[in-house]
């Protein structure tokens, strides 16, 4: 009986194993290839490491080359310079607005909320050209400041929505008793709300960090012609354009661009998944 039961479950396991392999193998193949010497990479597929393990040779040359000579090292730094301030700025501005929308009474609050939700789904494309022109006038093209502000503007509606939903769900007695005790809104915000919201702030921060880290379009439009300030995805895209067949470089460069997101994913998986799920609306 037990064996028959196990046997009947075999197709289920096989299907799930196949799915897991299909999702793993492409990344694994890239990873393995990035350590292979150039000439090996072109004379045989990466899977020969499994079929002929004795012929396997590994090198760090590809990484050295992309990091030092192809500018991926600089791009790595640029990605941090772009992503960290943007995340802090977006979260700060969004938290203030979300607090007002959740716990302050004023006329037009409902309307403002609907506006914020409506703006979530406005595609980036609808804003790019006028901002590009303003940036040209102000000389903000190709500057980190320009990208920080742009990412903050684009990320805000979703951030406000995410934080407001969490803030509004906190028990109202907490705030009422604080106000009765004479607390100002500022005290309620800094002493009561923020400490209670650490989990949602973490999810929001992880989400925004990865969103900006992985962005191509905004970087392409506002930093497109300025290689020295390009973040990783933009730099990688430029490499694909200029060295489309140099797989020893592309594999290593792609992996360099993936290290941080994968690290975040593996270490902060809980917050990451929560942020992504909440971000469903952003699409």
């Amino acid at each position: 009986m037990r064996w028959r039961r196990r046997l009947s479950r075999l197709p289920l396991h096989l299907f799930l194993l196949t799915v897991a392999l299909v999702w793993l193998i492409p990344t694994l193949g890239l990873f393995v290839s990035s350590f292979r010497p150039k000439q090996d990479l072109y004379s045989s597929g990466w899977w020969t490491l499994i079929t002929h393990p004795s012929q396997a040779r590994f090198t760090l040359e590809n990484y050295r080359r992309v990091l030092l000579r192809e500018g991926m090292g600089r791009a790595f730094l640029n990605s941090f310079i772009i992503t960290v301030p943007t995340t802090i700025l977006t979260l700060g501005v969004a938290a203030l607005a979300a607090y007002a929308l959740a716990w302050m009474e004023f006329r037009g609050r409902q309307l403002l909320l609907v506006l914020v939700v409506g703006l979530i789904v406005v595609p980036l494309q609808l804003s790019l050209i006028p901002i590009l022109r303003i940036y040209q006038t102000l000389g903000l093209n190709g500057t980190f400041l320009g990208v920080w502000l742009a990412h903050t503007g684009f990320g805000l509606p979703f951030m406000i929505y995410l934080l407001r939903n969490f803030f509004a769900a906190l028990p109202s007695e907490l705030f009422e008793s604080a106000f009765i005790d004479g607390a100002s809104h500022f005290t309620a915000f800094t002493r009561l709300l923020l400490p209670l919201s650490v989990p949602v702030l973490a999810s929001a921060a992880v989400f925004q960090f990865l969103w900006v880290w992985n962005d191509l379009l905004v970087a392409l439009v506002f930093l497109g012609g300025y290689e020295q300030v390009a973040p990783l995805p933009l730099k990688l895209a430029l490499l694909v354009g200029s060295r489309g067949q140099d797989w020893h470089l592309l594999t290593a460069a792609a992996f360099v661009s993936m290290i941080v997101p994968m690290g975040v994913f593996l270490s902060l998986q809980r917050y990451f998944v929560r942020g992504i799920l909440a971000g469903a609306l952003k699409g």
């Binding site: 409506g118 392409l220 990688l236 594999t251």
Partner: protein, 288 residues
């Protein structure tokens, strides 16, 4: 709650950003869409006529429709199947993490990963792309996955999108699936329903709103799809999509009028789904 004017202090920074980066530029884009390439002369609906009739835009429309149908079907379908099947095995978390991993990396990196999978070399050379190595090992001729138009290359691009997004669908649907009362499923099984009937009569109706949500999310994403196409083919060999077309008109040809018109078209396509999203939001508010 107390009534003060202090709320403006909290709202001001956000209102500045929303106005400067979303509201004003959106209105401005709509206006620019009625002007020529350099925004100097009024051209009426000329840009819109071009947007709906030029051959490259027609190809883009066709491809976006293909993306909407195939991408959405496979993502929601696979997500549902995986959510239900993974619930029955002990290694659920592991497989979920594996499938979810591509969500963490950029589309550019995903594009490079798959460009390598699709790598094509002539018959006499050793294949270094896994897919063509399999094709050749099975006795076939190597396939130009990103070149063969119109179906193979577009489907190859869509497959990359599915690879990235299936994890998201799986996790969302799985969370809802676990909300189905176990007694309900058990009761149906005891009453003699087979797994197939349980799936169609209980699971699907129960998950209806989640599936609808995931579907609209996928459609909104897919209408805006850009990075994957930009990095893998840049629209060559009839793989163009609307967002890439918009980018080209803006950046390559600096035809701001036409680019604006395409952006507006994109926006109008997304609006119905955005309305569904807003309604869902209002419904949540009502519950509170």
């Amino acid at each position: 709650m107390r009534k003060t004017r202090v709320h403006w202090l909290y709202l001001a920074p956000a209102l500045f950003f929303l106005t400067m980066y979303l509201i004003y530029p959106s209105i401005r884009t709509i206006i620019l869409s009625f002007y020529g390439p350099r925004s100097q002369n009024f051209v009426g609906f000329h840009n819109y006529i071009t947007a709906f009739t030029s051959p490259s835009m027609l190809v883009a429309f066709r491809n976006n429709l293909l993306w909407v149908l195939v991408f959405t079907f496979f993502n929601v379908g696979l997500g549902l199947v995986l959510a239900v099947l993974l619930d029955r095995v002990r290694y659920e978390v592991l497989v979920k993490s594996i499938v979810f991993l591509p969500m963490a990396i950029s589309y550019v990196a995903a594009g490079v990963i798959w460009k390598f999978m699709y790598a094509y070399r002539p018959t006499y050379a050793a294949q270094i792309g896994l897919l063509n190595a399999i094709v050749v090992a099975l006795g076939g001729k190597p396939i130009g996955w990103l070149i063969e138009r119109p179906w193979i290359n577009n489907l190859a691009l869509i497959a990359v999108g599915v690879w990235v997004w299936t994890g998201f669908c799986t996790v969302v649907i799985s969370a809802a699936y676990k909300g189905i009362p176990k007694e309900m499923l058990e009761a149906a099984r005891i009453d003699g329903a087979n797994e197939w009937q349980v799936f169609w009569r209980i699971t699907i109706p129960y998950l209806k709103s989640t599936l609808a949500m995931v579907t609209t999310t996928m459609i909104v994403f897919v209408l805006k799809v850009f990075d994957i196409v930009y990095i893998m083919t840049n629209g060559a060999y009839d793989t163009e999509v609307i967002a890439n077309r918009m980018y080209k008109e803006m950046f390559l040809y600096q035809n701001y009028g036409l680019a604006s018109a395409i952006a507006v078209v994109l926006f109008v396509l997304i609006v119905p789904f955005s309305l569904i999203n807003i309604r869902r939001f209002r419904a949540q508010e009502a519950v509170r």
